[in-house]
Structure formats: structure tokens, C-alpha cells
């Protein structure tokens, strides 16, 4: 009877599936595949390194990553991890990456606010001192912090990749205002801006101009710098930054699952043996 109940429940689930859309629409994110997908997936170190370069040279002009410290780049699982430096703060490459940027500090002798080169223990400096400054520089829109952006958006890496590569010229009949760019993957309701033929197109307006174009970033490893490559690499980097312990988590989990599986088998046989002579 319970089995029947499950069948009913499954039927119920099947009937209910598929959310209906009303008002805001967006295109389904592109079907992209990543090395870090699935229970065994790992980040591609070279890709995350290239992605960091894209972030540093393009995204970081407007987007902060306040959860990130330079040392994170050199920690285990990070893009610039070096076995020789167990303490990522000592990693010379990380130090050199940090040194290129200036961070605010207080002069210990005078108490004055000064700028000094960043060290590996510093947070990534934010591009704007505060939210009003960020809005003022971006036509009123606030560039979101990218620390956990891949986790903070429905669709995760596919969604972020689709946004970055999905910009299109607005179809005739779509009125775009200042600081508005049409992107079919952005959720929005464009009914009020639409005077063209046919139904309102999918998607919405985004305040970010298309950030990446072919050749925007020159990769150190001579990887081709097409838009799709840049976008894929930066999304891999952002996915790593959103969940830097993902690889450690999956490896630990595999061991835990194997342990629990054998423990369960052992308990099953113990159970059979203990209950052998009990009629029930």
C-alpha cells in the first residue's frame, strides 16, 4: 500500500512540475559544461588563473569581491597554490599579484590615511569607497559584489555565462533608455518599452554594458581570447571564488559516502544476524 502511495506521490509531483511564468521573462541559460560539475568535478587551475586575469583587468573596475583576500588565490585548491608555500601568505606569486594594487591604511606614526601596496593578507580592494559612489559612477546602478555571485543567481555558472555572452542588439520596436542594455537572459518585463510586432521579447534590461569582447584580455598561456573563452574562464574563476572549498568538500564527501556505505552494509548483516531467530 505504501508503495502505491509513493506512486501516487510521484504522479502528483509530475503533474505539478513546471512553474508557470507571469510578467517577468528570461531565456533559459545556455547549456554550458564545466570541469567542476558533478560529484567528481574539479576546478581547472589554468582556467581559474585566466579567469582571475579577466576579473582583475575587466570586472574589478566596477565590481568588488569583499569576501576575497589575496591569500585565497594561493591556498590549497586556489589558482596559484604552490606546494612549497603551505601558508598562502608566503606565496611569492600571490604577493606579487597583491603588490600591483593599492589599499587604504592608516599611517601608524601620523594617523593619516595613506595608500600602500596590498599584501597577501589584504582583502581585494573595492573599486568604489561606498555605495553612493558606485551608483554615481554607474548611472545609478549598483554593480553587485561578485564574491558569491555564482551561488547567488538561479542557474549558477550557466546563468552568469549566458549574461556575459548573451547581449543582443535590441529588436526593432524595443525602446532602450540610457544605461539600458538588452539581454535576453536577464529576467525582466519589457512590456512598457515594447512597440514592435508580435509578443514582447524574452529577457530584460541590464545596466552593465557588454563587459567582454573578443580580444579584451590577453592570456598569459596564449589561450585564444575570444568572448566565449574569456566568459567561460571568468565564470570558472567566479565559481571557484563563490565556493573555494568545493573540491575539498567533494573529496571529503566521497570518503564519507564510502565509509557510510560499508558501515550500512555491516549494520545490515548485524541486523540480520541479531534478528535471525525472532519471528516477526
Amino acid at each position: 500500500m505504501l508503495r502505491k502511495a509513493f506512486a501516487f506521490a510521484a504522479l502528483g509531483l509530475a503533474l505539478m512540475a513546471g512553474p508557470a511564468l507571469a510578467g517577468a521573462t528570461h531565456a533559459e541559460p545556455k547549456d554550458v559544461h564545466w570541469s567542476f560539475e558533478g560529484p567528481f568535478g574539479k576546478f581547472d587551475t589554468a582556467q581559474v588563473q585566466r579567469g582571475y586575469k579577466v576579473y582583475r583587468e575587466v570586472c574589478s573596475a566596477c565590481h568588488s569581491m569583499e569576501q576575497m583576500y589575496f591569500r585565497n588565490l594561493g591556498q590549497k585548491g586556489g589558482p596559484f597554490y604552490d606546494e612549497k608555500y603551505k601558508n598562502p601568505n608566503d606565496n611569492p606569486y600571490v604577493k606579487s599579484l597583491a603588490k600591483d594594487l593599492q589599499v587604504k591604511d592608516i599611517d601608524a606614526d601620523t594617523g593619516d590615511v595613506i595608500q600602500r601596496p596590498a599584501g597577501s593578507a589584504d582583502r581585494f580592494p573595492a573599486p568604489f569607497p561606498n555605495e553612493p559612489a558606485a551608483r554615481a559612477a554607474n548611472g545609478g546602478a549598483l554593480p553587485p559584489d561578485l564574491s558569491v555571485i555564482v551561488k547567488a543567481r538561479e542557474g549558477g555558472p550557466q546563468y552568469v555565462y549566458s549574461i556575459l555572452t548573451g547581449y543582443k542588439d535590441p529588436p526593432p520596436g524595443l525602446k532602450t533608455g540610457p544605461n539600458q542594455y538588452y539581454n535576453p537572459y536577464m529576467s525582466g518585463d519589457m512590456t512598457s518599452s515594447w512597440s514592435g510586432k508580435g509578443p514582447v521579447p524574452e529577457g530584460g534590461f541590464i545596466a552593465m554594458p557588454p563587459p567582454l569582447v573578443d580580444g579584451r584580455v590577453t592570456f598569459d598561456d596564449k589561450s585564444p581570447s575570444m568572448l566565449s573563452q574569456e566568459a567561460k574562464d571568468v565564470v570558472a574563476y567566479l565559481a571557484w571564488a563563490s565556493d573555494p572549498k568545493a573540491t575539498e568538500r567533494k573529496e571529503f564527501g566521497l570518503g564519507a559516502m564510502i565509509y557510510l556505505f560499508f558501515f550500512s552494509v555491516l549494520l545490515w548483516f548485524s541486523y540480520r544476524r541479531v534478528w535471525k531467530n525472532i519471528g516477526h
Binding site: M1, K4, A5, F8, A9, G12, L13, M16, G18, P19, A20, L21, A22, A24, P39, E66, Q67, N72, P144, D145, S147, V148, K151, A152, R153, E154, G156, S187, S242, P244, K245, E248, R249, K250, F252, G253, L254, A256, M257, L260, F261, F263, S264, L267, W268, S270, Y271, V274, W275, I278, G279, H280
Partner: protein, 439 residues
Amino acid sequence: MSGHSTYEPKTGIERWLDVRLPILRFANDTVVTFPTPKNLNYWYTFGGILALMLGIQIVTGIVLAMHYVPHVDMAFNSVQRIKRDVNYGWLIQGMHANGASMFFLAVYVHMFRGLYYGSYKAPREVLWILGCVIYLVMIITAFMGYVLPWGQMSFHGAVVITNLIGALPVVGPAITTWLWGGFAVDDATLNRFFSLHYLLPFVIAGVVALHIWALHVPGNSNPKGVEVKSEADTVPFHPYYTVKDGFAISVFLLLYAAFVFFAPDALGDAVNYVKANPLVTPAHIVPEWYLLPFYAILRALPNKLLGVIAMFGAIATLFVLPWLDTSKVRSMRYRPAIRLWYFIFFIDCIVLGFCGAHAPDDLVIPGVSGLQLGDANLNSFVWLSRFAATFYFAYFWVITPLMGLTETPLKVPESISEPVLSHPASAPMGAMASPEKRG
């Protein structure tokens, strides 16, 4: 906790302790020799699973509290810090966040089991009510816990739920202000939620002790619903149920681990990875999955106060269930007529959950807009939740009392051990030739 004790202190120290504080005798009588019906199936293992989950939540929670900062400007970042910088913080936080879902999954199985096998009926009404108290405190604890990471859904969920109290006439707004500790959900609210979120699990643990006490006075119910008649019907709890519960716990942990390690965010909402911003309201405010059915009942009614009453009524109904059920037969194994309603009720709860997850005006069947009745679109989730909520209450207040009076139950076996093969599905009719028992 009841009955005569079979404990015999063996060593001098045990004898010495036994006349001063018979704690070993208590432990022995509770978890070693306790006579337990021998026909408990796997649905009965969820009590043990729940005890473990409560323990895991308390232990991981205490560690998290060492690193968490209950301040509106720092709470979100402190959770990220736990996941990034604290040693195994990702594991502890992942276990705690997913542990809440697993805890509720187990409690729902436990409750549906009690419902099916009539575990709430005399003499176990107090046991059932204590269980309902635990469930209610669990809901409050989980809600407050969800506020702590101070993401968008945390904040706006707290606003929506605390505002419900404001629907009460006259005193509502004053109580809401008192709960907030100010005129909006803010730092004071976060601080008290943190304090209460730390306190309430220990309240749960206390009620669990009462729950187990109330269990051990009449003893376990069992799938047949007949009381234990003799020692032949029982086995000592250890090793028989320690090993069976242990196996079930281990399998349950496999499921739990699959979420913690491979899909830690599958049960959460992406929006909660955005720091709380009172000025930006998320498109859809939804609670965690385990509270969705009640959220659907809340939104099913067009009036806020009525919605709040219905939502609390849905939980309050559970408390009085022992007096709504008129049937003298405990187990639904022997009540084929209500069994069908029971399964419909189960599906109804899942349907309510889906209704809670969708916007009220979303279409249930996309593309079909024809089911119009006056102003009402019957193909919308709000109408589906109205039907489902009506059935939820009808099941307890109409179907359960009526079925007990009108149905013809199957023959209930004389005892747990005789006949051995008395499951109606597997036994020949002759094996159950005991006279019909209705009490």
C-alpha cells in the same frame, strides 16, 4: 521509566551508586532491557533518527555560534568567513543548514507514521501532544535560524512572518513592535532571534525527554495496533532495536551526506546568497521547503487575519487529533476505507507545498486559462491551495471522525505474535481467524 526493573548491579561501585543515584539502572531500563514490540518496521526507526539529528544540530550549532556574529553589518560576512576560513567550517555550516532540512524530513516521516498506525490514540495522547509541541518549537527554531545568515530571504522572510502577528486586532501592532525590539526588523531583532535560536533547541531536548518518558509508560505502539500481551510479543531494545535503528540511521546519514557534500545549496534559495537589503524586496518571498504547506494555507485566504488563523489552526488541529478520531482500531492496516483518504491527505500536503512555492496567480497548468469562474481563475495556485487547504482540514475534522463511525474495519489480530504471519497482504485468511477486536 516504568514497570519493574531487571537491572542487577554487578560491581561494588554499581551497587554503591545504585542506592544513591540509580542512573545506571535508569539507563539500563530505558535503552537496554526496555521491552519493545517485535514487529516494529522501518517507519519506526525515525524516532532514533530524530534524536540523532537533534544532537547533530545542537553540536554543530554550538560550534557555529563560536564564529557567528549577530550584527546586521557582519552576520552575512561572518557566515561566509565560517565557510571560507574556519577549519572545516564549510562542513559544520553545511551539516547545520542541511541538517535542518533532514530534521524536518525525518519529523514528517515520523508524524505520517504516527498518523497511519494510530500512534496517537489512547493511552498515547500525551505522547502525541508532546510530539506536536516539539514540532511547533522546531518550526519556530528553524524560522529564527533561517534569519541568522541575514541574506535577502532571511530578512524579507522575517519581515513577512513577524508582520503576521500584526494582523491580530488591537494588540497586533504593539506585539509586533515588541517582537522586533524596534519599529522594523533590524539589529535588535537579529540579536534576539540568535539568542532564542540558541535557547529553543534545549527546550526541544527537554520536551524530547518528556516525549520518551510518555513513550515508555504505555510502551511503543506497533504496526498492528494491538497492545503487547505477553513477553513473547516483545524483544529487549538492545540489541534488537539498537542494531535496527543503527542500520536505518546509517542509511539516512548517506542521504544527509549526499546533500552536505555534493549539493549543499540544493535545498536553499539562491537569493539568500545576496546580503539583506531592506530596500530591495525579492521577486518571490518563500520559506524553506518544510514550511511551504503552511505558507500555502496562509495565503489561501484573502484576509490576512483569517490566513494567520488558518495557518495556526492547521498546526493546532494536530494537537486535538486524538479526540477527532472515533475509530477504536488503531492501525490503518485494518482500516482499508480510511487508508485511501490517508494517501490522498499525504498527496494533499505535497500539493500544498507546491502551492506555497509558487506565486498565487501562477497557472497550475501552463497555457490553460479557461477555468474561469466569475473573477476566479480556478487554474491558479491560489485556488489550488484553497481546495487543498479545505481538504487538509476536512481530513481531520470531517473524514477522520466520520470514517471511524461508518467504516467496517478488517479483523484485528489477537496479539502481536499470534498469528505470526498476520500481515493482510501475506497471510491466508485462516491465519487471521481471531474474533474481531474493536478495542
